[in-house]
């Protein structure tokens, strides 16, 4: 029998009677990371990495019943050994390994191979079966080194500042915002962020995990001409987003790698920056896991499973989950 199955509530381990990132309320949930498609409300008990604890409390409520664990520390649930390993996706993000009678299963959650300097870097975990995401599981998605992208971002900001234009960079509030904030060059101008981003930064700061901070946008006579503003994309059409005069707006996302992705957002500038593994990253992670069986979830799962079968001869299949991949709404 499979150690993990996919039922109506989510990925379920019948022996341990525990779910991983369930999308419906359950008794006991292991949470890979704080994004809203993975960490949902209504579970009786949450288990997550220590760094995810303040994030989950802030997003799901102070009073949730949550237990924090360290990377690499095993604990047992009904005889199933359970260990969290770093996934390199965002702060607190983990892969979860379940082991029972010598059989190891890993659920990757969302992950990336590139080191971002903000969260604990991804560690390959050996197992028999791996349940992997495939948000960018097509060979057209190949990321450039992070340093190259931040050079581009700072260059864009600097050019705007020289032309007295406000720079607005669209990014989701948990993960990429912290990553961008860390590498912006403060000598160019002041760095501001939308409240939803500042709120998470403050939570992380209070927990002693992350220390870069952006200023709050306060309505006064400021024009923000040389400044940069980090904000989730859905704020742009609102009154808040419209207070900036003739801004240069850019989106930072893996989808910016393709023309149709850039067109969909209809923005002037796009930076290819993702917290998900690119094509080569996925392949590296799967090979390093030495898994014989691969279960592929969100993304181009059918194509990616077929690739793993034909290219590496792995037993690969795709399953439907409620995870949404890289979306600006998370």
């Amino acid at each position: 029998m499979d150690l993990l199955i996919n039922n109506a509530n989510g990925l379920y381990c019948p022996i341990a009677d525990v779910y991983i990132d369930p999308w419906r309320p359950v008794e006991k949930a292991l949470i890979t990371h704080g994004h809203s498609d993975h960490a949902r409300t209504g579970h009786t008990k949450y288990i997550a990495h220590n760094h995810s604890v303040p994030i989950l409390k802030s997003r799901l409520g102070k009073n949730i019943n949550i237990h924090g664990v360290k990377f690499g520390e095993s604990f047992s649930i009904n005889g199933v050994s359970c260990t969290f390993y770093p996934a390199g996706h965002i702060i607190g993000s983990a892969q979860i390994k379940l082991s029972y009678k010598g059989e190891d299963w890993v659920v990757t959650g969302d992950y990336k191979i590139q080191k971002d300097g903000v969260c604990t870097p991804f560690e390959p975990v050996k197992c028999h079966t791996i349940i992997t995401e495939s948000t960018f599981g097509l060979p057209v998605f190949q990321w450039k080194p992070q340093a190259t992208v931040f050079e581009q971002i700072n260059h864009w900001w600097k050019t705007n500042a020289e032309n007295n234009r406000t720079s607005i960079i669209c990014t989701y509030s948990l993960g990429k915002a912290q990553r961008i904030l860390k590498y912006l060059d403060p000598s160019i101008g002041s760095i501001y962020a939308h409240d939803s981003i500042n709120k998470i930064n403050q939570v992380l700061n209070e927990a002693g995990i992350y220390h870069n901070q952006a200023k709050k946008v306060v309505k006064d006579l400021r024009t923000f001409q040389k400044d940069i503003i980090l904000t989730p994309p859905n704020t742009l059409k609102s009154k808040w987003g419209k207070q900036f005069v003739n801004p240069s707006i850019a989106m930072a996302s893996g989808w910016m790698a393709i023309q149709s992705g850039r067109k969909r957002f209809g923005l002037e500038t796009g930076f290819v920056l993702s917290d998900h593994a690119d094509w080569n990253g996925l392949n590296k992670a799967i090979i390093a896991s030495e898994a014989e069986r691969v279960i592929v979830t969100h993304g181009y799962k059918k194509a990616y499973a077929q690739w793993l079968q034909t290219e590496y001869g792995l037993n690969a299949q795709s399953i439907d989950t409620a995870f949404v991949g890289e979306s600006p709404e998370i």
Partner: protein
């Protein structure tokens, strides 16, 4: 080449015309004149001849990237562009743009075309190796001849005019002539003066104001002449010395699009006339759909010239034998036109628009009622004593016929342009027992309605196709449209023109929506 690629990003964003012009200017100011001449040639639509076919590109890219064909095809479903898939799947050793400029690359690619196939492929692989993914994308598009831009002649001409400080009509005429970036420089193409430059210069157009209810009461119909206006391309046709120029009201040069009118050159006198180019076959005015397919063809083929013939429906004369007629009264100008037309052979693709002098408002109304019959969009009332003025004024009044009305149901919705609410609708009518989409447009109801409908949509999705959401058919929307034509490209078999959303009928249900048969009866 980086600055040209950056320019393309800006042009492809569906940017406003003024943004496009300023992006072009920024680029012109940075690029060398050598590069600019190649850039404007590409932007004009002069694609270099294809060097290799798309299947060859695909095969080469798959081999280089070690990717099976099926995966390439899957990827292309996402990118929708073979050139892009090919550019992206190859692992890049460099993320630094090459030092070569656009003109240098264009010359390299032209040379490449002269090699044997095998040598070509070797050289392409070498090029891929030295370039970034962005550069590769452009190069691949040039290789397979799929490079396109959405930029219009108007913006290019305007930007060049500002950049070179040369009048727009001169730029437009020279830009539209046959030239190759190989043999020309900015200097030789635009800056060298030509004594004939002034011949092409159009007059500013006179435009009509909309005929509103208040004016209806206060006007004295006896002081107006009335004529029909149709779906057509408003333009000024200039015949001076032995040259002919056709200018649209936006300042676009259309001479090449309508070679039929070159016949006007044979007339023994010079003139500048104002009129509408309409499609007409055997005295039967074609619909707007055919006209549009004709307007969009820069160089019409013989088949199109036979299938969709055009003519000019003349309604004013602005210059005659080098004499400016614009200060004459409308009546006097029309008399002059009448005289001119006596000598014009009937075979000329040129007719005089009929003018009426209604003596009462009722007669005027009657003319409007007959608009549909004569395939007109409405009537124009022109003050008999008025000179030909620049810009919009009350001497000319435009009175559109009543639009057609339909009751439709919301079938698909989509969030476009970063909107947080559903702001694009596909509306359907009934065809027997099935719903059939009839109009796709931006939601233009009161904001309150759009918000409410958007929330409703979120809860009533029955299916998803990419970003498109199919919803339960129950939101009833009244629309109007001004014209309709048969279309083989549309599932409903018809295409509507100038569609407007009028209201959301909260109280009605889907049984009450219009039927396709009713829509077709309008054709």
């Amino acid at each position: 080449m980086k600055s040209f690629i950056n320019l393309l990003y800006k042009l492809n964003d569906g940017n406003s015309s003024s943004n496009v012009v300023s992006a072009l200017l920024k680029y012109f100011n940075r690029a060398s004149t050598k590069e600019i001449i190649w850039a404007i040639s590409l932007l004009k639509g002069n694609r270099p001849k294809r060097t290799i076919t798309p299947p060859v590109l695909k095969k080469l890219a798959c081999e280089q990237a070690n990717i099976p064909t099926w995966l390439f095809e899957m990827s292309t479903k996402i990118t929708k562009d073979i050139a892009e898939t090919s550019a992206l799947i190859i692992e890049k050793s460099t993320h630094v743009h090459s030092k070569k400029t656009l003109d240098q690359w264009c010359i390299i690619l032209l040379e490449l075309a002269t090699f044997q196939q095998e040598m070509k492929l070797v050289k392409i692989i070498a090029i891929w190796d030295q370039t970034t993914a962005e550069e590769c994308l452009l190069i691949n598009k040039l290789l397979i001849g799929s490079f396109r831009t959405t930029i219009g002649q108007l913006e290019l001409v305007e930007a060049l005019s500002i950049f070179l400080k040369i009048e727009k009509h001169i730029i437009a005429v020279r830009f539209e002539s046959d030239w190759s970036p190989h043999d020309e420089s900015l200097e030789s193409l635009f800056e060298k003066p030509n004594p004939k430059d002034h011949l092409a210069k159009p007059f500013p157009f006179c435009f009509a104001n909309n005929f509103v209810k208040q004016t209806k009461k206060s006007i004295d119909i006896l002081s107006f002449g009335v004529e029909y206006f149709r779906h057509g391309l408003r333009c000024q046709v200039i015949k001076r010395e032995n040259s002919l120029y056709i200018w649209s009201k936006t300042g676009q040069l259309y001479t090449r699009s309508f070679p039929e009118l070159l016949e006007l050159k044979s007339l023994p006198f010079d003139f500048v006339i104002d009129g509408q180019i309409i499609c007409s076959k055997e005295n039967h005015i074609s619909d707007f759909n055919r006209l549009e397919s004709r307007i969009n063809k820069k160089r019409p083929t013989k088949k199109i010239l036979i299938d969709i013939p055009i003519m000019i429906n003349v309604f004013d004369i602005l210059e005659m034998e080098q004499k400016d007629f614009r200060s004459f009264s409308f009546e006097k100008r029309r008399q002059a036109l009448n005289t001119v037309f006596i000598d014009i052979p009937v075979t000329m693709p040129m007719v005089l628009n009929e003018l009426f002098y209604p003596s009462t408002m009722e007669e005027c109304n009657l003319l409007l009622e007959k608009a549909k019959e004569v395939k007109a969009k409405g009537i124009l009332l022109k003050n008999r004593t008025s000179p030909y003025l620049e810009n919009r004024n009350d001497n000319w009044l435009k009175w559109r016929k009543d639009p057609f009305k339909l009751k439709t149901v919301l079938l698909y919705a989509q969030k476009m342009n970063r909107s947080s609410v559903y702001n694009h609708y596909s509306l359907a009518v009934m065809n027997k027992d099935l719903l059939i989409p009839i109009a796709k447009l931006e939601a233009s109801l009161p904001k309150k309605n759009i918000l409410e409908i958007s929330k409703w949509i979120a809860k009533n999705i029955v299916d998803k196709f990419g970003p498109v959401r199919q919803v339960k058919p129950s939101i009833i929307i009244n629309i109007t449209f001004e014209d309709i034509a048969v279309s083989t490209r549309h599932k409903s078999g018809v295409i509507l023109k100038s569609i407007k959303m009028v209201s959301w009928e909260k109280e009605e249900n889907v049984e009450e929506i219009s039927h396709l048969t009713e829509v077709i009866s309008f054709v």
